[in-house]
Symmetry: C2
Subunit: 551 residues, 2 copies
């Protein structure tokens, strides 16, 4: 596995003569960034890996995307499209190769349509979680959009096309897409969903279309550039509540807990997609790294970590979970969550904290006092409302601030941009069958890899469905320390190899692994290469993305 960027033949030397002028002709001067310092600034990454495009372009509409592709084709220069490039810790705007054109779609940010009756929106790739959420609020919509736990300025479509995840019952972001406009590598427009817009009333309401289902081809893909898509939304439920859970039982009961959790999901007593965070993952949210506790080590000793956890009143495992539905349904969910999870720890129903009434004010007033009584640090209270809101699809920058966990500066309150600010972190998310046997095995494996590479054990168990969990596993490192960056890179590759070997494939690749995403399945790799070659014989769009040949 090669984690260094490859230079594509012909492309490494920069843009072909005249191409820059052509791009400026298409996009205007403010639509093209080619000055190397400016390019460096807009393509920074949190990964211990980066590449440098020759230019970054910002089309404003579909026609400009098409024109750029045609110009790039004539110059045989690859185009790496990203929506907003806020997938921090996965690769941001980094191509897997040097040079070429990076296309950022953040200026294509129209909310084309919201269908209140049928509960969907049609959006462009530049539309952010915040923008969609604000729009729904301002128009008095009855609909909720899901969001991800990342920044509120991330792209709704970009996250969905990367198979990102949210927290509400609509957490499956790719699964919520329906009907796409795609610019193909030859510059032509494909409208999926069984027929072009003019001849089809159901392309955003009926998922599978006529003939083979094509939307799936554009997830984690380089077969085209999605310039618009339908996104299903959910009507606000009659009732909403929130369960805060802390695991207090011994480690020997964690497996039984995992199995019980699956049964709650299978019985739809849990409809949300909670993240079960271990103590260190919680600490990343609540605090900054206590370098003073390292005592000369590279990561905290077990004893230091326990002491630190106790200072903040953090449990071994914590999660929050939204409850949704009619009053009867929420009653059922509460009954089951209390009964089943009550066996393993503390369950508190605190959904009222986000209510805009006397009860809401009371809960918010009481929260710091209750937390103090429970031995918790004040930061617990700070994250309460944002955490509950995430389960109503209200985006926040509260949690992505953890990116600054190992910064030497304090976590900023506003204007969060960890890539710009030099934060180092990298994510890997193996998918694991939702059984105690597999989850415990994968957790133990994860722990061993952290220990071997002397990083602190960070994991969240994300409820993907009743059948799978995703372990969200990450390392925060000091980007100003080359040795630590190298250690982070080594950790990532070791983890990735180990997960593949055990049959737990990561649900997303990063820029430093993407070209090898399908190495474990040569038949799928060959099949996809044939499709890629048929659709993009010049290998123009994002060569190497998700396992297709680089050249």
């Amino acid at each position: 596995m090669n984690s260094r960027a490859t230079a594509l033949p012909g492309a490494a030397a920069g843009l072909a003569p005249g191409l820059l002028e052509t791009l400026v002709g298409i996009l205007g001067t403010d639509g093209v960034v080619a000055d190397s310092a400016a390019v460096e600034a807009v393509t920074r990454t949190c990964l211990p890996f980066r590449t440098h495009p020759s230019a970054v372009v910002y089309p404003r509409d579909t026609q400009q995307v098409q024109a750029v592709l045609k110009a790039a084709a004539r110059a045989d220069t690859p185009v790496w499209p990203v929506s907003t490039g806020k997938n921090w810790g996965y690769g941001e705007r980094s191509a897997v190769y040097e040079a070429g054109i990076t296309m950022v779609l953040e200026r294509m940010n129209r909310i084309v349509h919201v269908d209140e009756t049928l509960a969907y929106a049609v959006v462009e790739p530049g539309v952010t979680y915040k923008q969609l959420n604000d729009h729904l609020k301002q128009t008095g919509s009855r609909l909720w959009a899901d969001c991800a736990g990342t920044t509120q300025f991330a792209s709704v479509l970009g996250n969905a096309l990367d198979k990102g995840r949210g927290l509400t019952p609509m957490a499956d972001h790719f699964g919520s897409l329906c009907g796409m406009d795609v610019v193909l590598p030859d510059g032509s427009l494909l409208e999926t969903g069984g027929g072009p817009a003019g001849h089809n009333t159901v392309r955003h309401t009926y998922k599978w279309g006529v003939g083979p289902y094509l939307d799936g081809l554009f997830a984690q893909s380089n077969l085209g550039i999605v310039v618009q898509a339908g996104v299903w939304l959910m009507p606000a439920p009659e009732k909403f509540d929130f369960a805060a859970f802390e695991y207090k039982a011994g480690p020997e009961r964690l497996g039984a807990f995992i199995d019980d959790l699956r049964e709650l999901v299978l019985a739809r007593a849990i409809r949300a997609h909670p993240h079960l965070a271990n103590d260190f993952a919680m600490m990343c949210i609540l605090a900054q790294y206590p370098r003073e506790m390292l005592e000369g080590r590279r990561h905290l000793s077990e004893e230091a970590a326990a002491r630190w956890r106790r200072q903040h009143g953090v449990a071994r495992w914590t999660f929050g979970c939204g409850l949704y539905g009619s009053r009867e349904e929420v009653r059922y969910q509460k009954r089951m969550i209390r009964k089943v999870l009550g066996r393993y720890g503390l369950v508190q129903f605190i959904g009222a904290a986000v209510r805009d009434d006397a009860l809401g004010r009371l809960v918010r007033w009481a929260a710091p006092k209750v937390n103090r009584l429970l031995g918790k640090s004040p930061e617990f209270t700070d994250v309460m409302v944002p955490a509950i809101d995430l389960f109503r699809g209200i985006p926040t920058d509260e949690f992505v601030r953890q990116a600054y966990f190992k910064s030497h500066a304090k976590k900023p309150e506003h204007d969060i941009d960890p890539a710009r600010d030099g934060c180092g972190f990298v994510w890997i998310g193996p998918v694991v069958p939702f059984t105690s046997e597999h989850v415990m095995k994968a957790l133990a494996l994860t722990r061993r890899i952290f220990d071997a590479h002397e990083f602190d054990f960070f994991v969240e168990v994300i409820v993907e469905s009743a059948r799978s969990v995703i372990l969200l596993v990450g390392v925060f490192y000091d980007r100003h320390d080359p040795a630590e960056a190298e250690r982070a890179r080594a950790w990532y590759h070791a983890a990735r190899d180990a997960y593949f070997e055990q049959g737990y494939p990561p649900y997303r690749a990063t820029a430093m692994s993407m070209a090898h995403a399908l190495d474990s399945n040569p038949a799928a790799q060959a099949f996809l290469a044939r499709i890629k070659h048929a659709v993009d014989p010049q290998n123009l769009v994002a060569p190497g993305r998700y396992g297709t040949p680089l050249r």
Copy 2:
């Protein structure tokens, strides 16, 4: 639009010299049918259209599928695969061209695995609804499989790959598939779901895999032959009930009813996927066609239809709907269904009729008496238990008997095979946005087409999701009457053209329309043709299926 079969160049003359012997060498004598009378018998269809293969082959395993493809490739003879070919009224085992090899996968009928914990099965294409259901019952499984309203001997995978529908919360059969083994046209094996079996523990539990989602390419498709797939199942709910509903309000309130029905689905007060059947559709189930009431016409007069409907006590619109969940959830569903649907007609909760206890016996004993009091014919009682059972995923041949509705012989009790028995019928299922405006418009359009072609107005409004319905529209005709068969063909093409024109694309094509399935979307047609050519340059597998080029 050409509804006549095309002869493929080279193929029309029958099998190339030596190919038959090669096939017998691969499959044994009992695996190949080439005698023209025998071929005729196993490839009959209910459509007013048919084609005749040169041979029908029955592989028993993946290796035989691969070997047949390789032999066919050498002889340049196309292979039209079907699972069991029980999609009566859509095309059964008919290729869209004459000659070639038809491959029936009914002997590949292993239930490879049932995962009780994670609620899925892995099955081959010959596995029928009855077989899977019996297996679950015999092993004491906690799981329910969905089935379709068609025969219990239909293929679980075949129906799902055709995007067929069931009735339970798992009604989206294609959506329930996860992870496939596919024999590609070149004879190689592709294992989808993010990696081959040996290197992936989640291929049947995590839907989207790594990289582009490939399963979707094999729905309504000719890009490969699916020889095995995962199918998600549901655990039996804590409570089950059943609502029988009859629409009693005037036609002017039907639109409001449709909107209210959507809101029930959106609020998850309805989790099943009921079929709202019009009076004539109900009559097809309960009776046989009353030729004596035609009074010289080709279809019943409005007056005669009303008289006939009243004789049987059939309402204008009828549906049944399963209720599922915990006791609180079912209480909510009953509350909402009673409250909302009660405005439009009669709601009865009769789920107890399938209980194996004293209450169940009481309901079954009382049913004929209650039905008599309500002015209903005895046949209502006969279909009660099978109808409720369908909503528990228990397949039945009770409803597919309607295929014999226009037969001159009485509907058979057993051994239902309408294709063999010369029944004529054809289905079309336009997808329509789930709003009163669209549904009323589509119903009126449908009615006009029936009237223009002098067939009786048959429609079921299938709740596909909260966002779309499928109008299941069908004609029963006398296959022994060439003029009526021609009229059925004309009706089908007129309906299809009208639905496409209005933007309501049919969710499935029939053998007589399939080659034109993507005519309304030339960009998608061209895109798919490129993929088809890349994956199957010889156009070996099912040329013309779902809109790819015939040759």
